[in-house]
């Protein structure tokens, strides 16, 4: 196998050269080289996934093998989950770069290098086995993201969004570093496995405090309520191709980092306690809040951003259940959500390209000329509601199979987010009902990001969403994918085998086969969710035709002002909320952990 370092190094080196020679390289060459680099990452990470499912392997940088149990350098732990997420990153980056081919704003040649750095950083974050290295990649990912967010500098709005994003995420990074320092003070180690071994059976307030600092850092990235305020601001202003990476993979990466650190560093320490229920609570609140805000939103990209909050909340909930089935479901969900959300952002980008606006009332009825885009959008909406046939459904079914009481939360979140997307689809593509209430955020209009003739929609705008939707459907019918998720989940939970892989030689492991699920009740729930989502959408659009007393869904759409004014756009507010969230998280952790 080629060295896993190439996953990170190739994008970074290419980025350096593209930036250095940006005045000499024509646009098409920069596009081509970037797409090929992304594709290379996808292929390499996929090959490593297959390899890692057979055995977890460790790669020590600089040939610094551990002396005894003392890790001297930085190691990459190539396990199934990490490699698979890196492969998803590669796929989404390739599609985003293809999507921005030729016409998209490229910021004087700086766009491609930043995208590649972003890709390399996320790939490194997925597989690193060192706590401080994780921080470095977290920061690298963030820095590239901040810069990408401000790509459209013609208006002040992108800068406001990027500024809030940068301030909150930087505060989060310093919290993470504080947590790392606390752990280092008592263990004198930075390797995840080494810290985990040293903390096994040790449980005190220092470990809990470090846990709270680290988890806050990650959950800010994962946009858990009340750390989520930066996300809609950043998504609303970033260009479409960047939004795809933000929503599809960067935000779930916050959760993935939390899971990785919990599984390695804290699992041995927290085994006798119930700390993981913390994530169930945080996830449930986030899923419901995000769903509600999503349905109330009329700026299409902000709406999708709120749905990302909701779905990441559902994933956090699954993580908190901390069982093989929940984690299997979570991995399926993560991949499927990335694909569907990417497809929806791509489709929203087509609307922006064609009509030069992205606000729901302004787009009313104008999409009638785009029947195929309409199909993509509606399929995306159904997929988001986890309708049967989409991989999200498979993930959701697995999470709820062992914890039926979570079904309600999945139902509400799925109906609200899917319903919001379908509602937009009905209004924009079919012109059904009325324009709906206008709100301030819908008035903020985006400048178009493409400079081509907007009457034509070139194939490379159309191909990425099609591929995403197709893959999200196809994965359901591919048993090997479920089995791979199950094997990864089992190993992810098993800290002993992780530490063994780090310190001893890697042992071959059998590919596990996931148990077949009894599907009937879930199928029923899946159909119910899709039906309710569609129904809610129709109800909201046609609210004038229903009796006044039955109009509540339309109220859900409009009069949410006291709640929505929390999203104030003021960095001070966001940091104040961040502090409060930290305190709540800490109180819960100390309550559950001691």
């Amino acid at each position: 196998m080629p060295s896993p370092a190439l996953l990170i190094v190739i994008p970074l080196i290419v980025a350096g050269f593209l930036e250095g020679f940006r005045k000499l390289i024509p646009r098409w060459l920069a596009d081509l080289v970037s797409v090929l680099t992304g594709l290379n990452n996808f292929v390499l990470a996929s090959a490593w996934t297959i390899h890692a499912l057979a055995r977890t392997q460790v790669y020590w940088f600089g040939d610094w093998y551990p002396r005894g149990h003392m890790a001297l350098g930085i190691g990459f732990v190539m396990d199934g989950a990490g490699c698979a997420v890196a492969a998803l990153t590669g796929l989404l980056a390739t599609l985003s770069l293809l999507y921005s081919w030729k016409y998209a704003e490229h910021g004087g040649g700086h766009y491609h290098p930043l995208m590649l750095v972003f890709l390399g950083a996320m790939s490194g974050f997925a597989v690193t086995g060192d706590l401080f290295n994780m921080f470095v990649f977290f920061e690298l990912m963030s820095t590239a993201a901040f810069a990408l967010c401000g790509l459209k500098t013609q208006e002040p709005a992108p800068l406001a969004g990027a500024f809030n994003f940068a301030v909150t995420n930087t505060v989060a990074a310093f919290m993470m570093l504080t947590g790392i320092g606390m752990l280092y003070s008592t263990t004198g180690a930075l390797n995840l496995a080494q810290i985990g071994l040293l903390l096994t059976g040790r449980h005190d307030r220092l470990v809990l405090a470090a846990f709270v600092f680290l988890m806050t850092g990650f959950l800010v990235k994962a946009a858990a309520v009340p750390f989520h305020f930066w996300l809609p601001d950043a998504h609303a202003v970033a260009p479409t191709s960047v939004c795809v990476l933000f929503s599809g993979i960067m935000v779930p990466f916050g959760l993935f980092g939390a899971m990785r650190v919990y599984a390695t560093v804290f699992q041995g320490s927290f085994a006798p306690t119930q700390v993981h229920w913390l994530f169930v609570g945080s996830g449930a609140v986030t899923a419901l809040w995000g769903g509600m805000m999503c349905f109330a939103e009329h700026h299409v990209k902000r709406m999708l951003a709120f749905s990302t909050i909701s779905h990441t909340g559902l994933m956090t909930l699954a993580f908190g259940l901390w069982s093989k089935d929940a984690l299997t479901g979570l991995f399926l969900y993560l991949v499927a959500h990335g694909l569907i959300k990417a497809a929806l952002f791509f489709t929203a980008g087509i609307l922006l390209h064609r009509f030069r606006t992205i606000s729901e009332p302004a787009l009313f009825g104008r999409g009638k000329a785009l029947p195929w885009t309409a199909v993509l959008w509606m399929l995306g909406g159904l997929g988001l509601a986890a309708a049967p046939g989409f991989a999200l459904y498979a993930g959701e079914a697995r999470v709820t199979s062992r914890a039926p009481w979570t079904e309600g939360i999945f139902l509400i979140a799925g109906v609200l987010t899917g319903g919001a997307v379908i509602r937009v689809g009905l209004r924009v593509f079919y012109g059904i009902g009325d324009r709906g209430p206008t709100d301030k955020s819908a008035e903020v209009d985006e400048t178009p990001e493409t400079d081509a003739d907007s009457q034509r929609i070139p194939w490379f705008l159309f191909f990425p969403p099609l591929l995403c939707i197709g893959t999200a459907v196809a994965l359901t019918f591919w048993p090997a994918f479920t089995n791979a998720a199950y094997s990864s989940a089992v190993r992810f939970l098993d800290f002993r085998s992780y530490a063994h892989a780090v310190y001893a030689s890697a042992t071959a492991m059998k590919m596990l086969t996931a148990a077949k699920e009894p599907l009937e009740p879930d199928l029923l729930f899946g159909l119910l969710r899709a039906g309710l989502a569609a129904g809610l959408a129709v109800w909201a659009v046609q609210h004038l035709k229903v009796p006044r007393r039955l109009r509540w869904p339309s109220h859900l759409e409009g009069s949410m002002d006291p709640v929505r004014s929390l999203q104030s756009g003021h960095p001070g507010d966001y940091v104040a909320w961040l502090t409060v969230g930290f305190a709540i998280l800490g109180a819960a952790a100390f309550w559950l952990g001691i």
């Binding site: 401080f132 901040f146 930087t170 310093f174």
Partner: protein, 115 residues
């Protein structure tokens, strides 16, 4: 407890930084408070790696084998310092640009996206 006071200083600086960002009325002020917040991690890391009577981990003047302070935290701090400067440079560029486009440096006016 008194022996641990550098840690408390780190915690104090952390809170100061947060407080500064929350009460900030000028975006450049926000950025400067962020650097203060960051300096809390320097103090924390330095205090963690310190050893009473330890020498600097440079074996140019001293013989190998003497007690030194922890070199790893210092390496981490070097990384930390670079991270700080670069983030600040980026944030300042955003502030400058926001001022040029929106004509304001007050966080209250960042609410283009309210709702």
């Amino acid at each position: 407890m008194l022996a641990d006071f550098p840690y408390y200083i780190a915690a104090w600086i952390f809170l100061c930084g947060l407080y500064g960002i929350v009460r900030s009325r000028h975006l450049v002020h926000t950025v400067i408070c962020l650097t203060i917040l960051q300096s809390s991690t320097y103090v924390l890391l330095l205090a963690i790696g310190f050893r009473a009577g330890g020498y600097a981990p440079v074996f140019a003047g001293i013989s190998p084998g003497v007690v030194t302070v922890d070199p790893v935290v210092q390496s981490l701090m070097l990384t930390d310092i670079v991270v700080e400067t670069t983030v600040v440079a980026l944030l300042l560029a955003m502030v400058v640009k926001a001022f040029e486009k929106g004509g304001t440096t007050s966080p209250d006016d960042l609410r283009f996206m309210r709702g």
